[in-house]
């Protein structure tokens, strides 16, 4: 277990957003966390990355308690985030965004190595390579999402948290993003994938949790959940 979340209780903007949620993230796996709007998914990522205060419960990273750390310290431990809404630095170029992803590595590593890494990651995203001198704000939605993922990869993370990477993307482009995420797993990355689009997310996850109104209502192997009728119920309230 690389990240272990135990009995998390979080209040977000006066709302009891997470109620005793426990999630484990295994090394080298994609863990899916799905649920409808307002189920508490984004609050989950915000609490792991230290952006919202945690009322009760604990979060461990490699057995180290990180519950009360601030987001920069958490990032320094090796947890990268692909945040909700991408949060790119819009007036800066693609290349600069990538460089900033590797910000922590500039102290100990040579600029050359980092540039080599950028090239390597560009192989995953050839479209970004073509636009490396464009500013991030001019990219299309899909490209921006790719850049957000690429920026997270630049930190050489031990775990990546992805907050709704498919939101606002047309189905075909979303599919492309999911393909990339799946290929990341094959390269040995550990990923917590938070998604609304349950079918896609479940398809590429190994293990998954279904969140409804701040509680985990279902969990199990992703392939099992995919067949489970009750997932659809949780979404559409049948």
């Amino acid at each position: 277990m690389i990240i272990k979340i135990k009995d998390l209780d979080v209040f977000y903007k006066n709302i009891h957003a997470l109620k005793k949620v426990s999630v484990s993230i295994e090394n080298g796996k994609i863990i899916g966390l799905v649920g409808g709007n307002g189920a508490g998914k984004s609050t989950m990522i915000k609490s792991i990355t230290g952006l919202v205060p945690i009322k009760n419960g604990k979060i461990f990273f490699n057995d180290r308690d990180i519950t009360r750390l601030d987001s920069a310290s958490i990032a320094r431990l090796g947890i990268s985030t692909v945040p909700e809404g991408r949060r790119l630095f819009a007036p800066m170029t693609v290349q600069d965004n990538m460089n900033l992803g590797a910000y922590l590595r500039f102290k100990n590593e040579k600029k050359k190595d980092i540039e080599k890494d950028i090239k390597k990651i560009f192989e995953l995203f050839p479209r970004l390579m073509e636009r490396k001198n464009q500013t991030a704000g001019t990219l299309s939605g899909g490209e921006q999402q790719m850049l957000a993922i690429a920026r997270a990869l630049m930190a050489k993370p031990k775990a990546i948290l992805m907050d709704e990477p498919s939101t606002g993307l047309a189905p075909l482009i979303a599919k492309e993003i999911f393909k990339v995420i799946k290929s990341l797993k094959n390269r040995g990355y550990t990923i917590l994938l938070i998604e609304q689009s349950a079918r896609m997310a479940l398809k590429i996850s190994d293990y998954a949790y279904v969140l409804e109104s701040g509680k985990i209502v279902l969990k199990g192997k992703a392939s099992d959940l995919l067949k489970d009728e009750s997932v659809q119920k949780a979404y559409l309230g049948v």
Partner: protein
């Protein structure tokens, strides 16, 4: 006539440099924290006054005096950050604004005790003999001011354009949360921007004192002009801040030459109100994004 114009330009250039440096300082802090620092002008005063004592009176070697004067202002700038920057403490804008006004009064008041209420200067870096050009005169110190400002602006631009540290600082200004998620310690960056901005202010004070002389007061007016120059240029842009500074200095210089010396400030402040009203994004800033701000208030 031509001589008058050239003389006005000669007068405007060094003053524009000083305004530009103050504007850069204001913009640095504003971008990093959304604080308008009313005490920005005090760093200029501190730099100049320290130089008066160290270099002018104690005859400490010039480089050492400059270094010490900048250091004094920088330390006070960092102390100001500790007082004024309180994220997450539910501090309203008005409180922070009043804190910086208080800081401005406190620093200038203390300066009056440490030094006195008189107007001071110290000898120019390389003589006082004016250079005559087409009938208009310019003193060598003006050239120093122009040259050093140019160097400072270039190095600032390079820092933000070419070093990862500078880019990280820019990133903090753009999106604090995202920067934090990348492991950038936002608070330290804010401290550095206060340090840089006070150092810039001090340097401005050091180079301008032989030219314009200095006393304990007047810092706040300089800060307001600096803010307006930065606004006119578009808060995010360094080049814009420099241009904004020159617009104001030319305006003042030409009003003083061709209308009346006593009305130069009047013109400045009328322009400031108009800039606030009609060009809130400045000349180099982004075009206004219609509706986006409201989207944030009531957004999804």
């Amino acid at each position: 006539m031509l001589t008058d114009v050239i003389q006005a330009i000669f007068a405007a250039l060094p003053v524009g440099c000083i305004y530009a440096l103050v504007a850069l300082g204001v913009a640095l802090i504003y971008n990093a924290t959304n604080i308008i620092n009313f005490a920005q002008g005090e760093f200029v005063m501190l730099g100049g006054m320290s130089m008066v004592t160290l270099y002018g009176e104690m005859h400490v070697p010039i480089y050492l005096s400059i270094f010490a004067s900048v250091a004094i202002a920088t330390i006070i700038g960092m102390a100001l950050m500790k007082v004024a920057y309180r994220p997450g403490k539910n501090t309203s804008l008005i409180i922070v604004l009043i804190i910086t006004i208080g800081a401005s009064l406190f620093i200038s008041g203390s300066a009056m005790h440490i030094w006195d209420a008189d107007i001071h200067r110290f000898p120019a870096f390389s003589g006082e003999k004016p250079i005559v050009f087409l009938g208009a005169a310019i003193v060598p110190q003006s050239l120093w001011v122009i040259g050093l400002t140019f160097l400072l602006v270039i190095s600032l631009v390079c820092y933000f354009q070419f070093t990862i540290h500078g880019k990280a600082m820019k990133a903090c200004a753009l999106d604090r949360t995202a920067a934090g998620l990348l492991g950038i310690k936002v608070k330290r960056m804010v401290l550095i921007s206060f340090a840089m901005s006070s150092a810039l202010g001090a340097l401005a004070g050091i180079i301008m004192t032989p030219l314009t002389m200095i006393d304990y007061s007047g810092g706040m007016l300089l800060a307001i002009k600096g803010f307006s120059a930065a606004m006119l240029g578009g808060m995010g842009s360094f080049v814009g801040a420099v241009i904004g500074g020159f617009v104001f200095s030319f305006l003042e210089s030409f009003t003083a030459t061709f209308v009346s010396g006593s009305f130069k400030e009047l013109v400045t402040f009328i322009v400031i109100i108009n800039v606030l009203l009609f060009m809130p994004n400045g000349i180099m800033g982004p075009r206004s994004k219609e509706g986006l701000e409201e989207e944030e208030v009531l957004g999804e």
